[in-house]
Amino acid sequence: MMDAFLLALGGVTEPYTLMLMAVATFAGIVAAAIPGFTITMAIVLTLPLTFAMPPMQGIAVMLSVYVGGLSGGLFSAALLGIPGTPSAVATTFDAFPMARSGQPGRALSLGLFASFVGSLISIVVLIVAAPPLALLAVKLGPWEYFALIVFALTIIASLVGDSVMRGLIAGLIGIGIATIGPDPLMARERFTFGYELLTAGIPFLVVLIGMYAMSQLLSELEPSSSSQQVSSSSLVSGDMRPHLWDVIKSTLRKPFNILRSSLLGVFIGAVPGAGSSISNLVAYDQAKRASKHPETFGKGEPEGVVASEAGNSSTVGGSLIPLISLGIPGSPADAVLMAAIMVHGISIGPRLILDHPDLVYSMFIAMAVASFFMLFIGILMMRAFMRLLNVPKYIVVPVVLACCAIGTYTLNNRLSDLYLLAAIGTIGYLMKKLDYPLAPLVLGVVLGPIAETNLRRAFQTSADWSLFFTRPISALLLALAVLSVAYSIYSYIRQRRLLAQRAEAAQNGAYQDDVSQE
């Protein structure tokens, strides 16, 4: 164990790797700071650049983009009032008023320090939680694994989007897409309809780039969102000095806020489907509820900035818990990390930590190092980031779309993947417009083959299907899956009823006003 740790430490702290990680952290911050450019896009576009690197170095670089990206949204949130990524929505509530009141430097360093502490706390939890969970997961049979994936997909479908039904349909479409091409056990060709294009199946990264990056970029061109382009220089002026020491002192004087927000972030990050965009809002909301002066929230309250940023950055460690210990990615960004590891011929699953402990340790160390880079690069380059935020959409959208094409082609050096990208991107945009959540679909493509393999293995072991319900862990997971769908249907009905009651009350009130006026 110590050998593996030292090997990982030596690998990550190599000067060349450190330099690459610093550049990657910087790139992650910049990418996430540009509105319309999401963290997932940044990680996907980094992937082809890591092909030529050794696995440890490649993963360290991609994790640096991830860690940098989680704090990058802060810059556009504080300076423009627009969240650079969906995970910085709550950050705008207090960071922007604070920056507008003449303290942009303080708002940014508060957010950066909170992100830094949040990431570190999440790494500690990851180190403590992942190995025992992996040891437990090694003992799971195909019944439990299949049930686990069903549970993960139902959770994702219930948490993302407005309709559980469309979430479940999207997840199943993803699994359906994954069945195209050779089957995972016997390699029998399925649903290729004689097209050579489909014989190798549809690579999940092409689905991810098409569904996530393309549909998001095209949405950016819609009239309502493009009209929000604001210039940072026209909005924010004032003290750009970071006041780092003051910020550290004031944050650590009230440790409960940052600790609570970080732990919430870790927990939410560990639940498949619930990522940084949810934890950012939940942590902010909890900080407001716990505050003795909630009325100051929304007007530039430092605790609000700390809570929202610690909340989103701490998901990084949480989301890696299911990936490292179970081989199940909880978000599209984690799915790309999984692909990056698999590209180097390393299989992901509970045995990862047993077979490649050096790689897992290097992930822990790389995340900690990237957190330091994120803090220092963020503080030192505050002014430069302000300029970078003004990259207009007419450059960002076509350039990133072209980068998506490069990423798609370089994955397998296959020209036919480009046609698939165009087709999947168009379908993805259409589905987004029709309000189908895309995260369950993308994760369905990743989890589908794992689910099929385990289901068929279970039946190869025993033809008795009741084992899924009689083995305790499998039964528990399937029950949880049913509960998660039932609960989200119940909360949807409750929400509708509340809305209807409110509308009725408003109508009655208007009627009574009319009567009294008469």
Partner: protein
């Protein structure tokens, strides 16, 4: 209540249509999966799992369709509002068209030329028409078409598509 106007009823109408299309597609795929031969080595053949998945999609789509109709009735939209909405998405549609053309052209025209042409046209369409922006657009198109080609070829030994002529 938000579906009283034809414009507001457009998305629900399209959603209902999507359930029908998906259900038909899923039934077709499930029947194709059923025609895959059974395995001699295992109880579940290559077709069983996809059959299960596509049948579930069909069932869910039918359920979603019925639930939507029972809950909110038939949404009433007009072709005019559909065309209006489509017109508002002009930037998206033009860009999507350009991107599809770019993907089709890349295998023949090569990476550098197709990317340069795509970036130039897409940016010219979106950018405000000013002499300075024209220069920026040209510079960006040149940088991001030639740059990645040589970066990938020289640094990563990955060769992006070359022209076929």
């Amino acid at each position: 209540m938000e579906r009283k106007t034809p414009d507001a009823a457009l998305v629900p109408t399209l959603q209902l249509a999507s359930y029908v299309v998906l259900a038909i597609g899923a039934i077709f795929m499930a029947s194709r999966a059923g025609s895959l031969p059974a395995s001699r080595w295992e109880p579940m053949g290559a077709g069983t799992f996809p059959q299960l998945v596509f049948s579930s999609i069909a069932v869910l789509c039918v359920a979603a369709f019925i639930m939507e109709l029972v809950k909110r009735g038939i949404p009433r939209t007009t072709l005019q509002s559909a065309f209006q909405r489509l017109g508002a998405l002009k930037s998206v549609l033009v860009n999507l068209g350009l991107f599809i053309a770019y993907m089709i052209a890349m295998p023949f025209a090569g990476f550098i030329l197709s990317t340069f042409a795509y970036l130039l046209l897409a940016q010219l369409f979106l950018a405000p028409k000013r002499p300075v922006t024209l220069l920026i657009v040209l510079g960006v198109a040149l940088l991001f078409s030639v740059g990645p080609y040589y970066l990938f070829a020289d640094v990563f030994s990955i060769y992006l598509p070359r022209a076929q002529w």
